[in-house]
Subunit: 122 residues, 2 copies
């Protein structure tokens, strides 16, 4: 066991690409990921799991079919399982995600924005 803290800003400084979550820690059968996003993602649903977004930098809007949720740094939102959502950001956003191991970023939608599993920063 490495008794080292995970510094979120440091992890975020180690990559630049958008919409490509990086695992930085594990919690039982969950993963903690950092991600940078900009622009609009794809509407999608995770049928089997909730998904936690915590904004670290920038302003993120999570579009839902019944309204938008706007997140500033220090604010989090849990998208319930089965709820279609689509993140969008005018500027770059740094965020932390927590979800079960193996969740694919584009959920049921797939497509070009589907990210490869990346735990190189864990």
């Amino acid at each position: 066991m490495a008794n080292e803290p995970v510094d979120l800003a440091e992890k975020l400084s180690m990559f630049s690409e958008h919409w490509s979550p990086k695992v930085v820690a594990r919690l039982n059968d969950y993963e903690v990921k950092v991600v940078k996003v900009r622009g609009e993602f794809v509407w999608h649903t995770h049928d089997d799991t909730d998904e936690l977004f915590l904004v670290i930098g920038g302003e993120l809007t999570i579009q839902l079919r019944d309204g938008d949720v706007r997140l500033c740094p220090g604010q989090l939102f849990v998208v319930p399982r089965g709820v279609e959502h689509c993140p969008i950001a005018d500027g770059e956003v740094q965020a932390l995600l927590i979800e079960p191991i193996g969740v694919v970023n584009t959920g049921d939608s797939g497509g070009a924005l589907t990210a490869a599993y990346d735990d190189s920063l864990a």
Copy 2:
């Protein structure tokens, strides 16, 4: 479903007591809690689960039997299941915890610092 962000600073402003985690969100069968701590907690172990600490304000030391982990704001650490630990802080620390529903703060040790379950801020 309330499509409202959870503002961690706002939640932390709503109470002052130490060592009493407050549930602010749920993620499947996990809970996201905020807590204020100061001084030394009690050595304890969670045999069945890892426990995530993310420091929001202040500086937290998580004492482990094989060394200390010092956490500044924006840094996290996951204490693995079965690993005895004891948080300590010189000044007040605000932190976020994530762990499965029903985890008791003092784990196997019990005692006076055992907090009542509190989801009044969720």
